[in-house]
């Protein structure tokens, strides 16, 4: 990257993007990305009431229970992170 580019909007873009939870970067592992996907999905289910209702009917649970379950799953959606190979 040239010195002049360092401060233009394009280089700042990545920095700006990094401020948001859930964005990715070139060194992201499959696991990290998958966690983000899962959490986004649960957040989306919880956020859309008709979706919650749909799941509740399909699983024969109350809507509140479904919501609680989804929130709980957001904690470790994909289980413990795998051992990193380079460690």
């Amino acid at each position: 990257m040239q010195a002049s580019d360092r401060f233009n909007i394009n280089s700042q873009l990545e920095h700006l993007q990094a401020k948001y939870v859930g964005t990715g970067h070139a060194d992201m592992s499959r696991f990290e990305w998958a966690v983000n996907i899962q959490r986004d999905s649960y957040a989306s289910y919880v956020g859309h009431y008709p979706m919650l209702a749909y799941f509740a009917i399909a699983e024969n649970e109350s809507i509140g229970r479904e919501r609680y379950n989804f929130m709980q799953k957001m904690l470790l959606p994909c289980g413990l992170p795998p051992e990193r190979e380079d460690d």
Binding site: N10, E14, G22, A26, M28, R30, F31, A34, S41, S44
Partner: protein, 1018 residues
């Protein structure tokens, strides 16, 4: 012989030899070797400063464009390259206040910050000391000034008469015209010259530093001398001096003097155009009339049409007010007219340098040199001292004019280019600040200073921080100034702040800050401010007529606070002398300031004073200003005049019958302003004024005004015509006698002929509209946003009027020109035409133009397309298929700018047609855009990213995500980086929408990646 003498003789001998050797004719060049040809001919003398010169077109897309309205994109209007600024700021407009001021407003610099005045409240019953300026002193001075003016006027008139008599005598000899006198205020004109001339024409007694050439007025024991001796006069700089008509008088007296017609002045003179204008303006015979009492009607005719000065000076404040008030004081016209800001700076600089380089006196030399071993010699006979070294420094040396190299004198006070390090964390000083804050650079030990000096230093430091410091510095400094205001005292504070506000190079922001300081300090100082009221008014009043709205509001706020702090009596005492000042500028600003005082302290409090002023027997100026104050009050406080309407009307009504026409006019205007402010109530208050009108009959009115139909001013004629029409309509035409009828018809006939001419002109103009277009393009570069907006509108109107064909041909041709600015403007114009005349009238020709194998043309076409799709928004859905092949081609072009511009066209297109069923074409285009994601040039990548964002909106996040997935885990890091960047902007833009589109990931050992919920169904 003394050994010293011997040595001197020897040195002189040697010196002579050296001089002979160095004489210019002893140096000859070998012309064969150094023949006239420059051996560097044909070389490039400059290296381009940056490499992306050819990327210049790309620059334009830097700023995000948003469609605000159906005109040109805002960013483009703002971003439009503009010419005219030659300083290093590039296209940045000058921030200096003086650069946007007209001559009239610039007259604020003529005002003198007057010395403190006596505060009658503070001193109680004590008799003021003789050196304090009391109200009486000030009034006396004002009276003297006026008297001087009158005398000079009389003298000038007399001289002129004499001259005319003489001229009549030797009419024949007059062919050899006397050499015209140079303008007086030329800074490079040598002092001696001016002195000689002055002594001839004899009016130098108004110059504080007048040379020994004593004019005959000097001998007259006029009391005016006393006025001259007051500190207020001696404070003035020579070049900065208030132009008193004395100067005019002498230029008047010279046969071919100044040469500026009185009427043609301020409004017409843009500051950048002035020097030429005033220089070339031919002296008309009319100018020799005494003009300060000239009637407004003549004024109007001198500045025809809408160019009446008042309209130009006070846009927005008083659209009707003060038309006749703009009569320039004659002296000011001659002097100030030609001075541009550059000259101001030059003059300032010159003066500065002269100060530092003033010749050393004998005493000073004595103290500098040892007493022994030196002998004082007589200067050579041919030695002429240069009294103004700055002139020597500033003058460009001519090759043959300076035969010897002169070793420049060492000059310790000189500020060199490198700014001095500021001690104690002070902010940077601009060169012009040295004058005010230079003392801070002396690294004296503060302990040694007297408490007063320490205080002063402290104030200076704080002010500098407020003026030039960083925001936090500024904030603390402002707070300190406020907190310690009473401790510092009003005098030291204002003596520091006010001169800064008179600085000719002041910028808006700086003025704002300083005004803020005054505002804060006022609160704290309260009644301590009294002696300084006039000083403050001198610098604040100009804000009231500033073209910037916020400056006007600020000015009002300060004056209102000032009047609350100082009280009515002090305010009146401070401003009363200015009410009949000879300078119209002063009267104008004073009237406005008074209206603010009235609104701050209440109209009733001011009424007795106003009544007295409006009935002044002494001078019409006082009556005029008094009535103008009423007008300004009406304008300022609007319907709040209602309770006082009757008294205000009564105060000014007699002005309608005043002997002076100006007073009559301002009275009418004031009544109008009052009526406007009070409408729809309060008509009964005007009874006393309106009654006489109901008595009079049609013939009376019409006979009075019919002659005015011949007036030069078109708006005036129209007004008169409307009046006649209304009168006749209401009261019937039966009373008009045949003579009047004849007159009326005669006038109307004359007018009609003109109308016909105008109609004809209209046809001609219409035919040439097409050719006007390119010229109109230039106006897209105008400084003023209003002009640019109007230009854009005009394009639309013209195209609508004459159809797009001719216009388009001109514009497309224009794309071939080399100048980039021009091309950019043209592309905007094309898009405007497309918008006004529907895209289908323009697109075929435009797309056809893309076939021209020329970079500029093709880029211009693409840019036009980009603007076009931006303007037409969803209308684009009908055209998207038509332009797709062209964009395909452009997106595959080798040229970067092609792809960039095409990408931005795609963006606008996508955003315009989102949800309108054009997905097929858009996916097709996305396929062409996508390979460009690896571009590195900032403008290109920016355009590409924006195009992809546009696609996200139009096609949905899922589609773009599918493009993304292929590269998120690419083995090459460079690729991954780009893809993640796209993914991230996708994610930020449409996180929720992505949930449904994420790929199915296989589980890995303990880690569950699948999302079973999505497979559920009922």
């Amino acid at each position: 012989m003394d050994p010293v003498d011997l040595e001197i003789a020897k040195t002189q001998e040697e010196r002579k030899k050296m001089e002979a050797a160095l004489a210019p004719d002893s140096i000859t060049f070998d012309t064969e070797l150094y023949d006239g040809n420059n051996r560097f001919q044909g070389y490039n003398r400059e290296i381009p400063a940056n490499d992306d010169e050819e990327n210049a077109d790309a620059m334009n897309n830097e700023v995000a464009r948003k469609l605000a309205s159906f005109t040109a994109p805002k960013s483009l209007l703002n971003d439009m390259p503009r010419g005219g600024d030659d300083d290093s700021l590039g296209f940045k407009k000058s921030q200096k206040i003086i650069d946007r001021e007209d001559d009239y407003r610039r007259r604020r610099l003529n005002q003198v910050i007057s010395p403190e005045r006596h505060d009658a409240f503070a001193s109680g019953d004590k008799t003021p000391k003789p050196e304090t300026r009391t109200y009486a002193d000030v009034m006396r001075e004002a009276a003297l000034k006026r008297e001087k003016e009158e005398t000079l006027k009389a003298i000038a008139r007399k001289k002129k008469e004499e001259e005319e008599n003489k001229a009549a005598g030797k009419d024949k000899e007059a062919i050899a015209a006397p050499p015209s006198q140079k303008r007086r205020n030329r800074w490079d004109q040598s002092q001696d010259d001016a002195g000689a001339k002055k002594s001839k024409t004899g009016s130098d007694w108004d110059m504080p530093d007048s040379t020994p050439g004593i004019g005959r007025w000097d001998a007259t024991p006029t009391p005016g001398r006393i006025g001259d001796a007051t500190p207020s006069m001696s404070k003035k700089n020579r070049w900065d001096e208030t132009p008193t008509p004395g100067r005019l008088a002498d230029s008047d007296a010279t046969p071919a003097g100044g040469g500026v017609t009185p009427g043609a002045t301020p409004a017409g003179m843009a500051w950048d155009a002035t020097p030429k204008l005033s220089g070339l303006a031919t002296p008309t015979p009319k100018r020799q009339r005494s003009r300060w009492d000239e009637t407004p009607a003549t004024m109007g005719s001198a500045t025809p049409g809408g160019a009446t000065p008042a309209a130009a000076y006070t846009p927005g404040v008083t659209p009707v007010g003060g038309v006749e008030l703009a009569t320039p004081t004659p002296g000011a016209v001659n002097l100030r007219g030609a001075i541009t800001p550059e000259q101001y700076n030059l003059l300032r600089w010159e003066k500065d340098i002269e100060d530092r380089n003033r010749p050393l006196t004998d005493e000073e030399l004595d103290t500098m040199f040892p007493q022994e071993g030196y002998k004082i010699l007589e200067p050579p006979a041919n030695y002429v001292p240069i009294r103004t070294p700055a002139r020597k420094l500033l003058a460009t040396p001519t090759p043959l004019g300076t035969p010897l190299y002169a070793i420049p004198e060492e000059n310790r006070g000189q500020q060199f280019d490198v700014p001095k390090e500021m001690p104690g964390g002070l902010p940077f000083m601009k060169p012009e600040d040295y004058q005010y804050f230079g003392a801070l650079l002396n690294e004296e030990d503060e302990e040694e200073l007297s408490p007063d000096e320490q205080k002063e230093r402290k104030i200076m430091k704080l002010l500098l921080k407020v003026k030039n410091g960083t925001p936090p510095q500024r904030k603390t400094a402002l707070r300190q100034l406020t907190d310690k205001a009473r401790e510092f005292g009003a005098g030291p504070l204002f003596n520091r702040i006010l001169p800064l506000l008179m600085q000719p190079t002041l910028e808006d922001q700086e003025r704002h800050l300083l005004v803020k300081v005054i505002d804060r300090v006022l609160y704290k100082l309260d009644e301590l401010v009294r002696p300084y009221v006039h000083k403050i008014l001198v610098v604040i009043e100009p804000l009231l007529i500033d073209e910037d709205y916020y400056a006007r509001v600020e000015g009002r706020e300060i004056i209102s606070n000032l009047s609350k702090a100082a009280g009515l009596a002090t305010m009146i005492a401070a401003m009363r002398p200015d009410i009949d000042n000879i300078d119209e500028y002063v009267r104008n600003t004073t009237a406005r300031a008074f209206s603010v005082v009235a609104s701050a302290l209440g109209i009733p409090a001011l009424l007795p004073f106003l009544k007295a002023v409006c009935q002044s027997k002494k001078s019409w100026q006082a009556r005029h200003t008094g009535i103008k104050i009423v007008q300004q009050i009406a304008i300022l406080i609007g319907c709040a005049v209602l309770p006082h309407l009757r008294s205000l009307v009564e105060i000014i009504e007699h002005g309608l019958n005043d002997e002076n026409q100006k007073v009559r006019t301002i009275t009418a205007l004031s009544l109008a302003a009052l009526a406007e402010a009070a409408a729809p109530y309060g008509i009964e208050s005007f009874d006393s004024v309106l009654k006489p009108l109901w008595k009079v009959g049609v013939p009376d009115i019409v006979a009075r005004i019919v002659e005015d139909l011949k007036d030069e001013s078109e708006p005036y004629r129209r007004m008169v015509m409307e009046t006649i029409e209304k009168v006749v309509e209401n009261l019937g035409a039966s009373d008009i006698d045949s003579r009047l009828e004849e007159l009326l018809i005669d006038v109307v006939m004359k007018q009609c002929q003109e109308e016909q001419l105008m109609g004809h002109l209209g046809v001609v103009l219409y035919e040439y509209l097409g050719e006007e277009y390119p010229e109109l393009l230039e106006m897209l570069k105008a400084h003023k946003k209003g002009i640019r907006r109007a230009t854009v509108n005009t394009f639309g109107y013209i195209a609508k009027a004459i159809g797009p064909q001719d216009v388009l041909a001109t514009l497309l041709n224009n794309l071939k020109v080399q100048e980039r600015q021009n091309r950019v403007c043209t592309t905007v114009a094309i898009a405007i035409v497309a918008e006004t005349c529907s895209p289908f009238t323009v697109l075929p020709a435009l797309m056809n133009e893309y076939r021209v194998p020329e970079l500029n043309v093709q880029n211009g076409v693409l840019k036009s397309l980009s603007f076009l799709f931006e303007y037409i928004g969803e209308m684009g859905k009908d055209y998207i298929y038509a332009v797709t092949p062209l964009l395909e081609d452009a997106l595959m072009d080798r040229d970067l700018v092609h792809r960039q511009t095409a990408a931005s066209a795609v963006k606008h297109m996508a955003l315009g047609v989102a949800g309108l069923g054009c997905e097929d074409a858009l996916v097709h285009l996305l396929n062409y855009v996508w390979p460009n994601i690896f571009e590195t040039s900032p403008h290109v990548i920016n355009a590409v990213m924006e195009a992809i964002e546009g696609m996200r909106v139009a096609l949905g996040a899922a589609v773009v995500l599918n493009y993304c997935l292929q590269g998120l885990f690419h083995p090459a890091r460079k690729v991954r980086e780009v893809y993640w960047k796209i993914y991230n902007s996708l994610y930020i833009g449409a996180q929720d929408a992505l949930v449904a589109a994420y790929p199915v990931l296989e589980d890995e050992g303990d880690n569950v990646y699948s999302r079973p919920e999505l497979t559920m169904f009922i």
